[in-house]
């Protein structure tokens, strides 16, 4: 509990003289001076481009306010927006299911060799760059790729019937491969800090491990799971390399289309309109998360 006391101590100003606002402000001056350079950098490198992207999305060629860019983005790239939504939802579903399974096994598993082995294995893709994940997927999941070769060698798959997985399935698999370690790391951490006694009690009363996971462990770590999934959603909507490397035709992810619009047409207006849709998607997810956490606070 030392953390809370230090947090409390931090919030009380060092010079609590009542009613002397100017004195309190001058007490804050050193802190403000130290934060100012970093804040300025965020202002120049983040706030300015953000404002520019929002403004450009609503300004026409003649410099007046317009919805034409948004309409054009919807008309040209509506299928890509839908594709992006479906691919991210499918990826998040796969990520959530896999992470719950891994984190659940790490928390409730009893095997003396499998638990440490799994803990050692699952983290590997965590720090692997997306662009490397994209390259390995490109050769691993292709029609003549290693996955199909191995499946054919094992007799599971007829080599003639082998399909390329380099479409939405490849995107979902690559995104999941890259993001599952991140979500599992947060989830397993949250599960490890739970009170073990309720789990032990349920186990002693004869509840199976699966039931323990879904009825006792998972409800308590739902906030952490949601945060991890929202952060993953932002990541998936920001990745450019993987869709460009995996998908050659249309529809593809919005990021690839934004890059296409800028590099081939120099059309920042429509690209920024598309960007606006990706902000809206993230905002919707954040809103759903906030609503859920508020509801849980209202009736715990």
């Amino acid at each position: 509990m030392t953390a809370t006391t230090s947090a409390d101590a931090r919030q009380t100003p060092p010079d609590p003289v009542p009613g002397s606002a100017s004195r309190r402000l001058s007490g804050m001056l050193p802190g403000l001076l130290l934060v100012a350079p970093a804040l300025t950098a965020i202002g120049l490198l983040y706030a300015a481009p953000l404002v520019r992207s929002l403004v450009t999305a609503f300004v026409g060629a003649d410099g007046t306010f317009t919805f034409a860019n948004l309409e054009k983005a919807l008309e040209f790239y509506g299928a890509d927006i839908l594709f992006s939504i479906l691919v991210t939802l499918a990826s998040l579903a796969l990520i959530a299911a896999t992470s719950i399974a891994i984190a659940g096994y790490l928390t409730l598993g009893q095997s003396r060799w499998a638990v440490p082995l799994l803990r050692w294995m699952y983290r590997w893709p965590l720090f692997i760059p997306f662009i490397v994940a994209g390259q390995t997927a490109r050769s691993f999941l292709a029609r003549n790729g290693m996955l199909n070769t191995l499946l054919a060698d094992a007799g599971v798959l007829d080599a003639a019937a082998a399909q390329s997985l380099l479409d939405w399935r490849g995107l979902v698999l690559t995104f999941a491969w890259k993001q599952v370690p991140f979500v599992t790391l947060l989830l397993a951490g949250a599960m490890a800090s739970l009170d073990r006694s309720t789990i032990e009690a349920a186990r002693n009363l004869g509840a199976s491990r699966l039931r323990c996971l879904f009825e006792i462990v998972l409800p308590q770590v739902r906030p952490q799971l949601f945060v991890a999934l929202v952060l993953s959603l932002v990541t998936l909507l920001s990745v450019l390399s993987v869709p460009v490397m995996l998908i050659s035709g249309n529809p593809t992810m919005m990021t690839a289309m934004m890059a296409h619009r800028v590099t081939y047409y120099g059309d920042y207006a429509v690209a920024n309109a598309l960007g606006l849709f990706s902000y809206l998607l993230t905002a919707a997810a954040a809103w759903a998360y906030l609503r859920m956490s508020l509801k849980e606070k209202a009736n715990p």
Partner: protein, 275 residues
């Protein structure tokens, strides 16, 4: 009898567990093994299932003096080092202030430092490139360092704040009571204790910069080639051997840092991130 069936059942579940672990191992390491095979495959044409000739020929090609790999490696490393320098120079004072000093609207400031990670970054990079164009920063190393410093700052400020809050306050107070000035206290007491956390922040920023693709693509290309850009171009050009070799080089810092990060990012710092 019941003993035998129990033994059989536990053997069966151990078997199931072994198969499940084998599957996990295949999913995690299969794609990586594929990369290694490509890096050493000199000849691999359809319908051959596996390479027909192995060797180091493409490694020689990648590292030939004029092939661009050395230049990309040098660019990547110098950009990453400069990004770490810039991000830490800005975030060590900010982190110290956020952890120790009185600030108005502290949680709002923390939120501002989180925002760049809370929304998709690609539109931001596109518009940074458009703004940089006016200042002639596109295609320069400095421009790429600036664009890499945006995600760098987010990690650095958050981890540095956590690192400074984990420093034992009573030792600082003792030093001040013994007559040390605030700067001396910071240098001799606070900084050494926060050092592992700051080191972890630097590692994160370094890794993020080495791996960064999107920002470099918009701001740096085609003049500045980093390793990810080199890999991307090789892959899109169908040169899978070169792409695989570059990808393996990119994996060295990622995997290396994954193995040492726990030494720097201790639980007492981790638990304070975001507070």
């Amino acid at each position: 009898m019941s003993n035998l069936s129990a033994t059989l059942r536990s053997a069966g579940s151990a078997m199931g567990l072994a198969i499940a672990m084998g599957l996990v191992a295949f999913v995690v390491f299969g794609p990586l093994a594929n990369l290694v095979i490509w890096a050493f495959a000199e000849q691999w044409f359809y319908p051959n299932q596996w390479p027909t000739r192995w060797g180091f020929e493409f490694w020689g090609r990648v590292f030939r003096p004029r092939a661009g790999a050395w230049e990309s490696l040098w660019n990547s490393v110098s950009i990453a080092v400069a990004t770490v320098g810039l991000s830490m120079a800005l975030s060590v004072p900010a982190g110290y202030a956020l952890a120790r000093l009185a600030l108005p609207a502290r949680s709002l400031i923390m939120l501002i430092f989180l925002l760049p990670q809370a929304f998709p970054s690609l539109p931001i990079f596109v518009n940074i490139a458009a703004i940089f164009y006016n200042f002639g920063l596109n295609g320069t190393l400095f421009g790429v360092v600036l664009v890499h410093s945006l995600p760098g700052l987010v990690y650095a400020v958050w981890i540095a704040t956590a690192a400074f809050s984990a420093v034992d306050r009573s030792m600082e107070e003792a030093a001040r009571n013994l007559g040390a000035g605030p700067l001396r206290t910071f240098r001799d007491i606070t900084l050494p204790q926060a050092f592992p956390g700051l080191m972890a922040a630097s590692i994160f920023v370094f890794l993020d910069s080495i791996d960064e693709f999107t920002g470099t693509y918009f701001v740096g290309a085609p003049d500045i080639a980093t390793l990810p850009i080199l890999m991307f171009n090789a892959s899109m050009g169908g040169n899978y051997q070169i792409a695989a070799i570059t990808a393996l080089i990119l994996l060295i810092p990622s995997v290396g840092f994954m193995l040492v990060i726990e030494r720097f990012l201790k639980a007492d710092v981790l638990s304070r991130i975001g507070r």
